[in-house]
């Protein structure tokens, strides 16, 4: 039986195991929407802005580890996804973006709602396709999913001209893929693994620096085994939070610009840095020449371009993080004379414990105005690390990272690489769609939340019970902080005059709205909001000029921290 391109696409999605699609229709994709009701296993969530669709697909992917799917029309629909595509690209998140395109005979004619989205998205996708013949559609979709989820994951875009969606052919879904030009290397090189193990045996002050790659390769268990058995302290990037239990005594907290004192000092003094699935981003390293000055560096990453891009590496291991860590474990298991890790590492662990004790992340409590850190602490207390937390970008994001603890991977979803304001709320919607029974909370700033607040209509219409906690400081707080510290307090364009009444705004959409102004009420109100069956906004009026500390000024060495 011949089927149209639109039907073939939907059939492919079904066979890929897709259950949720986030999208927004238009003329170019109307054929897909026409057939969508014939595929009841594909739930479609109509968002209110295409940026919401791509972030929701991304949040779904981060929360589940599955490929997220987003479907939009040509031209403006496609361009509205670009920020979200770049967000997913920077954080290596597997998403497939289906865009409509004008009919092939019109391509290049400046046709109505035509845009070269394949060209526009090229620098921020793992790969993309323009499908010119319906006969190519099935294998391209197969490849798109394969590329998105394997190797270093990432977004893959497929552009579908309207006439291709309408053309008919026999459907046959390829069983497997072979691409002569794409063969990510997953297994570690034995010799390098042995070298790494040898360095571990000799090290007195080892440190694990883990990143998002540990989460995307499902390596958390292997990482935890290694650190606990060898008694190695652990720090991680923003993206790596949750891969190592946040309540373990070996956990030092995040490193980098707003990292903990102990973590940054540990980097300054370690003799062996084991970097796993992390890419030495400049927000992490600070001044590169004084990053881990005393250390030999072992770097595990599935993407060879990450290795030696910023720092020199003594033992590069190009491999899937899980396989590499398992390789090290196997190597240790056959090693005849292992040191007594407890004895060897104890002085180092004592030193770290002292740093932690003397310089914890902290703030001064006040009842009114409420301290934003207090709110994050309360959220953690109430949820005990069981909730899925998403964040917007700015101070709210850093406080969420500093004052919560994450015990499991895929419970902290944030835009790390691109730092996209407006990410948190739609991402929370995506995560909640995947896990309808879990508590999903977006920790937001009053600035960021207004970038995709329209998705409240999506949350309400599908009863997606996401909770938004706005740390409302009346400022674009993180930028204001920079202005305060480095630009002579010139608060130009960072004061959010005339914020809307967020409680009324929630109510206008049909969600629940709460406001709290005193610390004493925070717990009660949060509980109440978490208990309402649908989506809710909690507008927490916080200290307007609170800052995120510690802070390493951009370009300074990690050990040059501004403390509270």
């Amino acid at each position: 039986m011949e089927r149209t391109g639109a039907q073939i696409l939907l059939e492919c999605l079904r066979q890929e195991g897709v259950d949720s699609i986030f999208g927004f229709p238009g003329g170019a994709v109307i054929d897909i929407y026409h057939h969508l009701p014939d595929y009841p296993s594909l739930r479609h969530f109509l968002v209110r802005h295409e940026q919401g669709a791509i972030h929701a697909a991304d949040g779904y992917a981060r929360a589940t580890g599955q490929v997220g799917v987003c479907l939009v029309t040509s031209g403006p629909g496609a361009t509205n996804t670009v920020t979200g595509i770049a967000t997913a690209y920077m954080d290596s998140i597997p998403v497939v973006i289906i865009t409509g395109q004008v009919p092939t005979p019109l391509i290049g004619n400046d046709a109505f709602q035509e845009v070269d989205i394949v060209g526009i998205s090229r620098p921020c996708v793992k790969h993309n396709y323009l499908v010119k013949d319906v006969k190519d559609l099935a294998w391209i979709i197969k490849q798109a999913f394969y590329l998105a989820r394997t190797g270093r994951p990432g977004p893959v875009l497929v552009d579908l001209p309207k006439d291709v969606l309408q053309a008919k052919t026999l459907f046959e879904y390829p069983e497997s893929i072979s691409m002569r030009s794409y063969n990510p290397n997953l297994a570690p090189n034995r010799r390098q693994v042995r070298k790494a193990t040898e360095l571990l045996r000799r090290s007195q002050r080892p440190l694990v620096y883990s990143g998002g790659g540990v989460i995307s390769s499902d390596a958390a268990e292997e990482l935890t085994w290694l650190c606990r058995n060898l008694r190695i302290p652990v720090t991680s990037t923003l993206m790596g939070l949750g891969a190592f239990p946040g309540d373990d005594p070996l956990w030092l907290g995040m490193l980098g610009m707003h990292g903990t004192y102990a973590a940054n000092m540990a980097v300054g003094h370690t003799d062996l840095l084991l970097a796993v699935g992390a890419r030495f981003d400049d927000r992490v390293t600070g001044k590169i020449s004084s990053f881990a000055p005393a250390a030999q560096v072992v770097h595990i990453d599935v993407d060879p371009t990450s290795i030696r891009k910023n720092v020199n590496v003594d033992v590069p291991i190009v491999a899937d993080c899980r396989l590499a860590l398992r390789g090290i474990r196997e190597e240790l298991e056959i090693c005849p004379d292992l040191p007594d890790w407890n004895t060897v590492h104890q002085p180092w662990l004592d030193q770290l414990a002292e740093w932690q004790r003397n310089h914890p992340v902290r703030y001064t409590y006040a009842d009114e105005p409420i301290k934003p850190q207090f709110v994050v602490e309360k959220i953690y207390e109430l949820t005990k690390g069981e909730a899925i937390i998403t964040t917007e970008v700015g101070q709210n994001q850093m406080w969420a990272a500093q004052f919560s603890r994450f015990h499991r991977p895929r419970t902290f979803l944030t835009s790390g690489g691109l730092g996209t304001m407006g990410y948190g709320f739609p991402a929370a919607i995506g995560a909640q769609v995947a896990f309808p029974d879990r508590l999903v909370i977006d920790i937001a700033g009053d600035g960021s939340i207004q970038m995709n607040i329209q998705e409240m209509a999506t949350a309400v219409s599908y009863n997606i019970p996401v909770k938004i906690v706005i740390l409302n400081n009346g400022y674009l707080g993180m930028v204001r902080q920079w202005q305060e510290l480095f630009y002579a307090r010139n608060y130009c364009a960072t004061c959010m005059h005339l914020n809307p009444d967020f409680v009324k705004l929630a109510e206008a959409y049909g969600a629940a709205g709460f406001r709290v102004t005193k610390a004493a009420d925070v717990e009660r109100v949060l509980k109440e909001a978490f208990a309402v069956p649908g989506p809710a906004i909690v507008d927490v009026v916080v200290e307007p000029e609170e800052n995120v500390y510690p802070m390493v000024p951009a370009g300074a060495a990690l050990t040059d921290m501004l403390l509270v």
Binding site: V118, H127, S181, P304, R308, K309
Partner: protein
């Protein structure tokens, strides 16, 4: 340092812009770029000359390998290789100077591919050094037009020390 990269790619629409976009997007520079189909169906060969320190070149090569449409990348710089470029030069060659231009063309084993009353068009192949030399020599006659292909290169079968 100057590097010559030989890059095998899937011959499909957009592949050139993927490669070029990688260079421009990361602030790398391309000196010359030459593309043509190979004998294998669906595969083209690009020869790219670029310059940078070792760390930059390593990044360029890794980034190229990461592109889904790139099949193979070889850095010919540290190998024995044959490098050639073809250049067309239209040079002033009025009456009394014509003989001299032809003599130079002869020494450099150029082909004369077009003639008019006032000028000669020469075809030259060679490595960069040879081309620089003949351009130098012809400049004093006046070069009216100049077109070059960019380097094509191939590793030599025998790799002597």
């Amino acid at each position: 340092m100057r590097h010559v990269l030989s890059v095998l790619v899937e011959n499909e629409p957009g592949v050139l812009s993927r490669v070029v976009g990688l260079f421009s997007g990361r602030g790398f520079n391309i000196e010359t770029l030459n593309v043509g189909p190979t004998l294998e169906d669906g595969i083209s060969l690009m020869t790219i000359t670029t310059a940078g320190d070792e760390q930059i070149i390593e990044q360029i090569i890794k980034q190229l390998r990461k592109l889904v449409t790139v099949v193979k990348v070889v850095d010919l710089t540290h190998l024995q290789s044959v490098e050639r470029e073809m250049v067309l030069i239209k040079v002033n060659a009025e009456d009394e100077r014509r003989a001299e231009v032809l003599r130079i063309a002869d020494i450099f084993r150029c082909k004369v591919v077009d003639v008019s009353g006032n000028d000669l068009t020469l075809e030259i192949t060679g490595d960069q050094g040879k081309i620089r030399a003949i351009v130098n020599l012809l400049q004093r006659f006046g070069i009216k037009e100049f077109a070059r292909t960019g380097t094509v290169a191939m590793r030599r079968s025998m790799q002597m020390e």
